[in-house]
């Protein structure tokens, strides 16, 4: 009897703590606060997470510790990652799974100064190209490797200053971010040449939501709630862009990240466009199996990964 009572209390307490743990969730976007993550801030500030019974803590990566590391170190329960980054990590035995695909298109591009005379991709052969140290370098490298272009990759943090100062021939930029920063640093669009990766067969989906497989197995219900509330957050941002921008700017100011209305407005417009499936045969928030295999093959061909990853094991859509 005594033994039974102890067992009951243990089960009840275990259940209580389990519930308490599940109701709190840490999310790490894969960069510093900006409109790229508007949907998450909106979902938090508008109480969409709370409505789902979740207490979501948004914890940003630092300039030197990226989101993947945070997931691996269990500093975050859910992270947003590029598909390529996630696949690479999975191949490196980080058991992460995609629980929803936010972005459906590639925003990556190279930018060169028009006066450099680099008009075609092949002219970047043998040139110095700036690329982020914190990640997102797989597709650019895959693109150049596939084309057998020998490139000197110059790691940078987040600023465009090296490119602006003429320290590199080209810079890897996001259409929604660094490209507009360059415009806002005084370069006119007609003074730049751009190379959109999607134009070179690399329309690889980008931001997706990932968690460790173990988390998926243990907290599926909470993850479903999180994704549902996040999608609501994005829909709200689409319908109320000005309000969403206010939320983003507040978040950025809090983090002492230099920003301004103009740039975040541009970014939000871009991101909302990238989130739409467009001509792809998927629903919003879904990962296309075709894209998955395309990306996987890209990484395999580029010798980034050697092991096979199956779609079913990688993609665990929590909303289904």
């Amino acid at each position: 009897m005594k033994h039974k009572t102890f067992l009951l209390v243990t089960i009840i307490l275990a259940g209580y703590f389990a519930n308490a743990q599940q109701s709190s969730l840490t999310f790490t976007p894969h960069w510093l606060p900006q409109a790229q993550f508007a949907g998450y801030y909106v979902a938090r500030d508008k109480g969409f997470y709370n409505d789902e019974g979740l207490r979501v803590n948004i914890k940003h990566p630092s300039a030197s510790v990226n989101a993947t590391q945070m997931l691996e170190n269990k500093m975050a329960d859910v992270v947003s990652l590029f598909l390529v980054t996630a696949l690479k990590s999975r191949a490196n035995n980080l058991k992460l799974v995609n629980i929803a695909q936010q972005s459906q298109h590639s925003a990556l591009m190279f930018v060169t100064h028009k006066k450099s005379g680099i008009e075609q991709l092949k002219q970047l052969n043998g040139k110095r190209i700036a690329i982020w140290k914190s990640g997102f370098d797989e597709v650019p490298k895959a693109l150049m490797q596939t084309n057998n272009y020998n490139v000197e990759w110059v790691p940078i943090l987040s600023s465009i200053n090296l490119f602006m100062a003429g320290g590199v021939d080209a810079m890897t930029v996001m259409w929604y971010n660094e490209y507009d920063q360059i415009i806002n640093a005084g370069k006119n669009p007609d003074e730049l040449n751009t190379f959109r990766f999607s134009d070179y067969g690399y329309n690889i989906p980008e931001d997706g939501l990932y968690c460790l497989e173990s988390t998926y197995l243990q907290r599926k219900n909470n993850l479903r709630k999180f994704v549902k509330a996040t999608i609501n957050g994005w829909e709200y941002a689409r319908k109320h862009p000005e309000e969403a921008l206010d939320v983003v700017l507040k978040e950025m100011k809090k983090a002492h990240v230099p920003t301004n209305y103009t740039h975040q407005k541009w970014m939000l417009q871009c991101i909302l466009e990238l989130n739409l499936p467009g001509n792809k045969n998927v629903e919003k928030g879904e990962l296309s199996e075709t894209d998955f295999h395309k990306t996987l093959n890209l990484l395999k061909n580029g010798s980034y990964i050697n092991t096979n990853i199956t779609f079913d094991k990688f993609y665990k859509p929590v909303l289904k």
């Binding site: 300039a63 200053n161 602006m164 640093a185 230099p258 209305y261």
Partner: protein, 644 residues
């Protein structure tokens, strides 16, 4: 103007004076405003240029001297590069010697000293008034990727970093000046690392924030990439570039200015932001490739002028109001006697000549008016007095003349028909004097049962003398005729009686006849009178062809002629004075003998009264209301013959 003319004289004068003053003021204000505006604009622009220049000099001085400090230490570091542990001392030394510097690092390239590892960067920074020395660089603060290291290391030249919040080092908004340093093993120059000093931007903000121009004008520093390093709105600092701000404000001109700044140009340009016209004066800080801009509002530039103008307008409005009140009062005072004069004039017009005139103490036009009024008053009094007397005299004379007329008219027979018991004859006569009394006369009476005496005459002249002469003539006729049957004898007697003592040489044209009613024989004498007209029974009308003697009263003892004519039954005689034939109309055309004859012709069926009235009407028609100038006298006689 119609409404103005109804207003009082004082109001009208004030109206014109005020209108002219307003006009003058508006012209003056416009000229003042135009020239002042020009002058203010020139001075403010000049001030702004100087301010920009001075601020650039002040800020650039700090930047240049900081650069020099680094240069001075570089050779020391390069010389002692084989002693890594001494490097920290240099960083401390830099801060000790240069209070404006808040951090100094000697950042060696990766693995420069094998024993120091991948990262080696002695770094000293200020913290709470003390110096803290540490090592920069670890996995989380990978300084090789920091702009302050990477860019000068790549470009191999000194570099002023974009302003930044340094989370790894000074933890404040700062800028870093970096400079590559080299090692020289075996005589070969090799890149060794980056030497940096950190400057807080507070000194910058202090200098730049102290710049004030006009009310809200300010200075701002913009970095190489367009980032606002200083700005009065702290939300803009580090968050906005001039280009993002231009896009947010939808102001392409500002973007152009930003690009000019990046090109190191100096400029002075107008730009409209938030509907506010701003003037931007900018000049590069050549040491760092940043730009200093002085910004001020065009509106504020003219604000003092507008204030002065407003004050002027208020003063003028108050002044004008006072002027209007004062001028109106003064004018009203000055012309106040006019009202009294008007009152006096009405009094005088009503006959009160002794009315008191207003007292005028001044010696101006009003005094002249007063004197003229006084003179007029006196003259009027005299005139009216004389007029009264004259009128009284005239009325008396008129009254007497009226009586005289009545007497005169009483002297001539006026009962028609005069002889109702005498069927052989009928007669009608009329006398209309031109004045109260006249000089014409007619008369008729029976001398005996068978003889009718008739006469018509016209005394020379008119009025009272003529009427008296007429009265005498008529009285004489009545006294002489009863004992006579000869017209010649009667007229001779009359002539002699009138000619005696006729000092005034008056005379009478006179026609008289005596008709024997039984025989129709008529004796007659014409003393210078118009020949009568005879209309016989056959309706033949003609003037008497008779001897026309001189008028009576002229020459004593003149022997007049007597004629005889036998009247047939129903012969009509028409006698008249020259008042009829010489009656004038407005065109001074005479009635004439011819028209009289024409009027008389064909009237043999008419009675004497009808003949007279017909002629009288014809004369009236002829003269057409023209004033009667002579007495009008007519007589018509019809001889009807013996009663069978």
């Amino acid at each position: 103007m119609a409404s103005v003319s109804k207003k009082s004289l004082a109001t009208r004068i004030v109206y014109y004076v005020a209108a002219f003053c307003v006009f003058l003021f508006l012209i003056s204000l416009s000229v003042f405003y135009f020239f002042s505006k020009q002058s203010i604009e020139e001075k403010t622009i000049e001030n702004a240029r100087e301010l920009t220049q001075n601020t650039v000099l002040k800020t650039e001085q700090v930047l240049i001297s900081s650069g020099k400090i680094l240069n001075n230490y570089r050779w020391l570091i390069e010389k002692n590069i084989q002693h890594p542990d001494s490097m920290q001392n240099y960083t401390r030394r830099v801060l000790e010697m240069n209070p404006e510097i808040i951090g100094c690092a000697i950042a060696f390239k990766p693995d420069f000293f094998a024993e120091k590892g991948y990262y080696f960067s002695p770094f000293t920074y200020r913290s709470n008034d003390s110096l803290v020395s540490t090592q920069l660089g670890n996995k989380e603060y990978d300084y090789f990727l920091m702009d302050w290291y990477q860019i000068p290391a790549t470009l191999k030249k000194p570099y002023w970093s974009e302003p930044y919040y340094d989370t790894g080092g000074g933890n404040a908004l700062m800028t870093t000046y970096s400079m590559p340093f080299y090692t020289n093993p075996k005589g070969k120059k090799e890149f060794a690392g980056i030497l940096t000093i950190d400057l807080s931007l507070e000194w910058f903000t202090d200098i730049v924030s102290s710049v004030k121009i006009l009310e809200t004008g300010y200075a701002s520093v913009i970095s190489r990439n367009g980032t606002f390093v200083t700005h009065p709105d702290t939300d803009i600092i580090m968050n906005q570039t001039i280009f993002s701000y231009a896009a947010e404000m939808n102001c392409p001109e500002l973007r152009k200015i930003g690009r000019n700044m990046q090109a190191g140009k100096t400029g002075f340009e107008d730009v409209i932001i938030n509907n506010q016209e701003l003037i931007v004066s900018y000049k590069p800080l050549k040491a760092s490739n940043w730009t200093l801009a002085v910004v001020f509002s065009r509106d504020e530039m003219y604000a003092p002028l507008r204030q002065i103008s407003l004050v002027l307008v208020i003063i003028v409005i108050i002044g004008m109001t006072l002027m209007i009140i004062v001028v109106k009062k003064v004018v009203e005072n000055q012309i106040a006697p006019l009202k009294s004069f008007a009152h006096s004039t009405r009094e005088i017009a009503e006959g009160n000549f002794n009315t008191v005139l207003p007292v005028i103490k001044t010696k101006d036009e009003m005094k002249e008016l007063h004197d003229a009024f006084e003179h007029m008053q006196t003259d009027l009094k005299t005139y009216i007095k004389n007029l009264k007397e004259t009128t009284s005299a005239k009325e008396k004379i008129e009254s007497e003349l009226r009586i005289a007329r009545e007497i005169q008219m009483g002297m001539i027979p006026k009962i028609f028909p005069p002889f109702p018991d005498t069927p052989e004859i009928d007669l009608y006569a009329m006398l209309e004097p031109a004045k109260e009394v006249g000089g014409d006369l007619y008369d008729f009476f029976m001398i005996d049962d068978t003889h009718l005496c008739y006469a018509i005459g016209d005394v020379s002249g008119k009025g009272v003398p003529a009427s008296l002469f007429m009265a005498v003539t008529r009285t004489l006729l009545r006294s002489v005729a009863p004992n006579q049957r000869s017209t010649k004898a009667i007229v001779n007697k009359l002539n002699n009686a009138l000619a005696v003592g006729n000092d005034s040489s008056m005379f009478v044209t006179f026609f008289m006849g005596i008709i024997n009613l039984k025989t129709g024989e008529m004796n007659y004498t014409n003393a210078g009178h118009n020949p009568p007209i005879i209309i016989n029974g056959d309706n033949k009308t003609e003037y008497f062809e008779i001897t026309q003697d001189i008028p009576i009263g002229l020459f004593e003892d003149f022997d007049f002629t007597e004629n005889t004519r036998i009247l047939s039954k129903n012969d009509r005689l028409f006698l008249y004075t020259d008042g009829i034939t010489e009656a004038e109309n407005w065109d001074e055309v005479l009635y004439s003998d011819e028209r009289l004859l024409e009027c008389i012709t064909g009237i043999n069926s008419l009675e004497p009264s009808e003949i007279v009235i017909k002629v009288a009407r014809d004369v009236v028609i002829h003269v057409n209301d023209c004033q009667q100038s002579d007495d009008l006298t007519m007589m018509s006689i019809i001889y009807k013959g013996l009663k069978k």
